[in-house]
Symmetry: C2
Subunit: 397 residues, 2 copies
């Protein structure tokens, strides 16, 4: 069984988080990803925490770059550009997430690369995209989250804006970019035409705002922060237990009835404040007080058991330890082990998209800096031992 | 110029948010998406707010289902199943997000559909996936966010877990699913083999946790909630101004120096508490106090101008109104107008992934319930007027 992207060659100029998260997905699904790093230093994430005691190789870099080959190449020098262009002639896809304009300044923009490989798919991610008045503006994840709108609708009611903890502006962008590359590959099979792909972190965050745009456009309502409730249904929230929290949703009348049974308070069902979803939304705070009379006296496990026993959708707030060790996570191979040459055995996330007829997998740890330079440049560009030696001396590779 | 997925036919059984968000992306990029809804009621989101005054058609449904054709078909009845199977013989992709096991119970699972169309790509999204001990567990977005781990790392330091405001468990899942479908289409072009795709909301959320797994695996550290800071760099946070907040990141020594100039306090740069990033992380609270002496006396616009004037990455917290009306959003066509037959002119999100050689676009409003039933069933299945009439009477279509 071949993987979905078997035979696809990707030249990967990405660094930090969003670009590498994209090329990780491509590599997991069988693309040959050749990651190009700066000689000497490499991707900046090689310096990012966490590190294992006594080991200089970053676990951050390692979790994000599994399944990729790594070469060093200085594409700012003429000889490096030349080698890069030769690699591009062998490739299907180039991915980069430099600041806007960097590739063009190097003479390695889409228009240039298209002349040497007309079928190339050239994919870029950046804070604000490749056109528009903000295109040159620098971004970090938190800036994309702020200017893309998600912070305005995340946080406690009445509280300050809160960013999504992990770098959503990065990992969501990487996923859209991988999707765009797969679409462009399909399109190229059908038409023979290459592509230029442009994904902006701000656009990505904005695309995820769900109801905020229709509420604004329809009635001029600017939605704000609502904690963990669903503005349109109740009960649907996070509730406090003796030892933590449980989330729960009972968004239909049928579930509401089961909910009342589950919490052992069937009187609530006929309580005139709560007879319809509309009333339960209006009287949400009073309903929450009633629910807390139940939940605050019991453990999360007890609350979960009671709700699940009546078929009411609910769940605990898992931290990473609880997820990693959960039988379901294991059954779905969402945590896999790789053996890194210096870090040793590491558990990292598995493959999210399950393709049963062409399953992706994690087969190799992240490369050491320049680990595959000789192998790739000899096999693909035909460099000799002598040339390899020379370019190493010149700090080109 | 053809769109990337031109010629791809998708039979879309999805409802609510995650599945329709997937098929929206396919439709935006040129796939013919035939959305199948239950006669009489249709997708549950047809009842979801917001509504325009005097109009019964949901703006929620309308923003999510643009570019799709809509037919009614009761796939629980024998005649409906038969028509569905005939549609499947004409299709490339079937997408569904019913509860686990529903399609199999209807006799319409992957194994059955493969016998009538061996090249079919059958894509499913669900709360916990198609296998694993939790596969039958019901989920809402908040439950995927809770059990996928993102709530454990989102929120104020010392505060309770907070969900991402919009339905991230849904829209991120829909995006992964669209990516998986595009990969499977490419793979089928190369090999002739169809596919079965399984994406779980919990897996998706777990995939987005960034550093939490490596920190836990490496050193047993369970990361918690950190508000808007980056645990590894400083200054990188949201700061309070007279009239709101500004986010800002100065993650390198060079940016730190520029930051001190921007806030007019170059003394900070040589302050022994803040001379290295490591010290700035250790003394973050003291540094925040110093920054607030500056930011709290000025407006967000003034803070942004000062920081941008020195090249320090920063930004305001935009709400939906500010994004929708921003020249950059307009330049990137991230808000587009469609003319809905009953709602009228609506502004909705544009196409996130920009494919320059095969651009996606928003060409048609969401379908009214059953709008394309006759057209599709006559053209694709060859139903006669008489059969259409009969099936309508029988409430099959």
């Amino acid at each position: 069984m071949s993987k979905a992207l078997a035979g696809v060659r990707v030249i990967d100029l990405t660094h930090a988080y969003n670009g590498p998260f994209c090329t990780m997905q491509l590599a997991d699904h069988g693309a040959e990803v050749i990651k190009v790093e700066k000689p000497g230093s490499g991707d900046q994430t090689r310096g990012w925490a966490p590190f294992k005691a006594g080991c200089d190789d970053s676990c951050y870099y390692a979790f994000l770059n599994r399944n990729k080959k790594g070469i060093t190449l200085d594409i700012t020098k003429p000889e490096g550009k030349e080698i890069f262009k030769q690699l591009v002639t062998t490739a299907d896809v180039v991915v980069e997430n430099f600041r806007y304009g960097t590739m063009e300044k190097l003479g390695l923009g889409y228009e240039e690369l298209k002349t040497i490989n007309p079928r190339i798919i050239f994919a870029s991610s950046s804070g604000f995209g490749q056109y528009g008045p903000l295109k040159e503006r620098p971004a970090y994840d938190v800036i994309a989250q702020a200017m893309g709108g998600i912070m305005s609708v995340t946080g406690e009611r009445g509280g300050p804006p809160v960013k999504v903890g992990p770098g959503l502006g990065d990992n969501f962008t990487g996923t859209y970019l991988a999707s765009g590359i797969a679409m462009a590959l399909y399109h190229r099979e059908k038409t023979g035409v290459g592509n230029r792909i442009d994904v902006s972190m701000q656009d990505v965050i904005f695309s995820a705002l769900e109801t905020t745009l229709p509420f604004y456009d329809t009635n001029g309502v600017i939605l704000g922060r609502e904690g963990n409730v669903d503005p349109a249904t109740s009960p649907y929230d996070m509730y406090t237990c003796k030892d933590g929290y449980v989330v729960c949703g009972a968004a239909s009348d049928k579930l509401w009835s089961l909910f009342c049974k589950a919490i052992g308070n069937q009187g609530l069902e006929t309580d005139e404040r709560f007879t319809t979803n509309e009333l339960r939304v209006i009287n949400r705070d009073q309903l929450t007080d009633e629910i807390h009379k139940w939940s605050k006296g019991i453990t999360v496990a007890e609350a979960e058991a009671a709700l699940m026993g009546h078929g009411v959708p609910c769940g605990p707030i898992y931290n990473v330890e609880e997820i990693v060790n959960h039988p379901h996570t294991k059954a779905r191979e969402m945590v896999v082990e790789v053996n890194h040459p210096t870090i040793g055995k590491m558990r990292i996330q598995g493959v999210t998209v399950k393709l049963y007829e062409s399953p992706g997998s994690v087969d190799a740890p992240a490369p050491l800096l320049g680990q595959h330079t000789e192998e790739v440049l000899k096999a693909e560009i035909g460099l000799s031992d002598e040339e390899i030696r020379k370019y190493k001396e010149m700090n080109i590779i």
